[in-house]
Symmetry: C2
Subunit: 236 residues, 2 copies
Amino acid sequence: MRYQLFYWPEIQGRGEFVRLALEDAGAAYDDAARKAGGVDRMLAMMKGVRDKRPPFAPPFLKAGRLTIAQVANILFYLGPRLKLAPRDEAGRLWLHQVQLTVTDFVKEIHDVHHPLGRGLYYEDQKPEAKRYATGFLDERAPKYLGYFERLLDKSGGPYLLGRKSSYADLSFFQLIEGLRYAFPKGMKRIERKVPRVVAVRDRVAARPRIKAYLGSPRRIAFNEMGIFRHYPELDR
Amino acid sequence: MRYQLFYWPEIQGRGEFVRLALEDAGAAYDDAARKAGGVDRMLAMMKGVRDKRPPFAPPFLKAGRLTIAQVANILFYLGPRLKLAPRDEAGRLWLHQVQLTVTDFVKEIHDVHHPLGRGLYYEDQKPEAKRYATGFLDERAPKYLGYFERLLDKSGGPYLLGRKSSYADLSFFQLIEGLRYAFPKGMKRIERKVPRVVAVRDRVAARPRIKAYLGSPRRIAFNEMGIFRHYPELDR
């Protein structure tokens, strides 16, 4: 099965959590919206001219006749197929639950630079972003990362499920990478308290396929259009 | 199987999306945190003193030996068991995807009164809430509800999956009820464009078990501690 991933071509964004899973598994896939005419095709699918079940927003994955949207839903589907999730129901639901907590965290990370909504430019909500960032760095980021740290402690490590890696570990990697990019100062402080999450990041970075991917042009660089944006005035 | 739902006892909140499914199906369940000592039990489970897989936040459901958190994940699990979801994978993933879009919408609804984060009181972010509310009523709420309207059109109705109701229809009911409570003026305007979603609301309200539930003390009244809060200054 060759998968087709549809996501905005110029950012890592939410699509990156899916890309990392496909890359780590060595799956055959096209980053479809980065090909000629791909964005138009993506937008047409969202309009649902032909599809009875159009997605609300990218990313979405075409897998044969299925179109699956929402990052956590895509990973839930791909997990057992890419050997990045257990096959039993209890294990799959647990991993999905953790991924949905990652989803919640990602939304809060996005909102640091857009607390008043995406209808306004960052420049029009800078003082508000600063106030949001304070609570984010002091409370929310430590709370989410501290939760993942606790889970890694309870699993016995090194990964969320113990000895076997899963798509959630790849997401932990992406969270740490993105947060380091956006908040280098804040993360120095926060990382001290979550050594197990940082160790997952290091392990994932060293996985051969991930290492190759990160060095390839398929990995888009962080920038100020994505989820993780480096605005020095928001870091502390 | 008797389920145990754990959620804050004084609000409908996110727990309500699960309660509605359990009630509509006539399932046997305890609203566990509303019983004596229930909140302490809930908090102990989150601390994970005994559990290797503690949830991040309520609501969560105990189903035999499983503990399942995250509303959409709970509904994904309950769906086929309560006959509120199809059994085939494609159907389950599609319904889940719609529910995850409901989840995203609920977060944005919450943020209308807490745009700068939950670390601050509403009173400390009133002007910001007003700015957020404008974009919410003009763009975001119409966009989400318009998407659901389009899906109902495509399904042929009256429900999301066509003739058979599902847990997502119960969530549509709750969205309309909650938004009417929070934004009576704004919703008068918005509802005109989403007659199919409103019709789902009406059908759900008339279902015998839901009707009985809404008239019972098990249904907590809307209030200014939950997701949907009526602050007249945010409505328009």
